[in-house]
Amino acid sequence: MNLKKAKEDAIHFIFLILGLIAVGSVLVITVYLVISGLPAIREIGLTEFLFGQRWASTAAQPEYGILPFILTSIYGTAGAIIIGVPIGFFAAVYLAKMAPKKVCAFMQLCIGVLAGIPSVVYGLVGMLILVPGIMRIFDVPDGASLLAAIVVLAVMILPSVINVSLTSLQSVPMEYEEASLALGATSTETYFKVTVPAAKSGIFTAIVLGIGRAIGEAMAVMMVAGNVANMPSLFQSVRFLTTAVASEMSYSSGLQRQALFSIALVLFFFIMLINATLLVIKKRSQSV
């Protein structure tokens, strides 16, 4: 009897350890980022760092202002959401309610493939097709720009927006729709006035996940955005928070390297903010 209990306890303990690996990783990363990110901020000065408009890390007189990166990340993500979310949302409504079974299966397969494409491939296609395309269509000297990054990010967030919205639309009880239809509403009216509001929290979750994906993407953006530390503007070459860290890390040293960790810390703070928003949405949808 005692042996059995000991065995049970041992198994519980092993599973606990396995579970704690994730917790431990988060803890280690957080602690490490804070420890390695703070010294540079202290040396440069918080306002100088966050609101400085010039980044020249290897100049004879180095300057470490990351406002251009912060604004670029915010504008880029917002742009991707403005383009990507409507497309993803309507696609999800179509797939959940209107599409014939075969079409639905085929489209879902495509979305699955889209989700699985590595970001470097997005970047490569963007670099070879989108960037020259923008150059020609808008008649600008070079196509590597905020716009190119927004388009790439908009496509990249589509799968998560579609899949999460789709799941929440499908989990709306049939009775809601039946009641609406029985009262004489057309099916389109029913979908947009009954089903969608009922799936509201899931759709918000989809948007927030899209924001998270867009703000954290580095590789694809690095290949199409041009990476010059300009203040953001649609046809200018820009640098995101993620690409600022990724592009200079390999050769950096001293204060420059520390400042890159500080940028990562700022990015981490943004991601935390997004996760907190997600938690709030989930809590609210549970209490309703």
Binding site: L20, T58, V131, P141, D142, N227, S237, S247, Y251
Partner: protein, 269 residues
């Protein structure tokens, strides 16, 4: 249960500290310190050398040419690495310069660009934004698009120091690899970029600089101007340790030449 949790957490933290540490005692050390541009050359040399001499450990600390020279003159490393010739006062301060290899940087444009020859002065003016249209240097009408490398890159550092454009380049794009620079220049008819000589392919057009085409021969003869030496700096008054001398000799041997060439530089021997 709570106690279990704390124990598990402590165990986890202990595990991470084990991974953080972990150095091994080696018999002989050769410390090199300096230019980040020489990373691939020194890296592949050290790798091949250590394969032959497993008892010797060659370390490389990428700090930049200036820091490497300071480090060697202060005795903090065996060999200082600089991707520029030593200044007279540095030589007077007791350092000896040994050129390991030469690094040529090709200036590339799109294949559709009719321009085929620029002077160093024109290149500098283009990169600082003084010349902004290809028609000013004999090309078609079109705004010049400047493609460069990221801050800290050895190629960028080399290009800017040779053309005297440090911290003044008005880049349109800063890319993180030679391949990206070549791809971008090949897709934009108005682009100009720079890349290590060994990496250039026929996807782009390589410009003559002051009428000289870049090649191993013209870099060696000094006719091609966009080049710089990779230098090993040692203390003149003090002999190298036995292990460091072995590595030094190995790096200059004919055996090492193909390794240096493979890493993208032009070997002297």
């Amino acid at each position: 249960m709570k106690r279990l949790l704390t124990i598990a957490l402590i165990a986890l933290l202990a595990m991470t500290s084990v991974f953080a540490g972990g150095s091994s005692e080696s018999t002989q050390n050769v410390a090199t310190d300096g230019s980040t541009s020489m990373e691939s050359v020194i890296g592949s040399l050290a790798e091949a050398f250590m394969e032959e001499h497993p008892e010797i450990n060659v370390t490389y600390n990428p700090t930049g040419s200036g820091s490497g020279i300071t480090a060697v003159s202060e005795g903090r490393c065996d060999i200082g690495l600089a991707s520029r010739a030593l200044k007279d006062e540095e030589k007077a301060g007791g350092l000896t310069e040994t050129i390991l290899a030469l690094d040529g940087i090709a200036i590339i444009v799109n294949n559709a660009n009719p321009v085929s020859d620029l002077s160093i002065d024109q290149i500098a003016k283009i990169y600082t934004g003084e010349i902004t249209n290809w028609s000013e240097v004999g090309g078609n009408d079109g705004q010049i698009v400047l493609i460069g490398r990221e801050a800290g890159s050895g190629t960028r550092d080399g290009f800017e120091s040779i053309t005297g454009t440090e911290d003044m380049c008005q880049y349109r794009q800063e890319l993180t690899s030679t391949g990206d620079v070549i791809t971008t220049v090949s897709t934009n008819p108005n682009a100009i970029g720079y890349a290590s000589l060994s990496a250039v392919s026929d996807k782009v057009k390589t410009l003559l600089v002051d009428g000289v085409a870049p090649s191993e021969e013209t870099v060696l003869s000094g006719e091609y101007l966009v080049q710089r030496p990779f230098v090993m700096a040692t203390r003149s008054t003090e002999a190298l340790s036995e292990a460091a001398q072995m590595f030094f000799d190995y790096a200059l041997s004919s055996e090492a030449a193909p390794i240096i060439a493979g890493a993208g530089a032009v070997p002297l021997n």
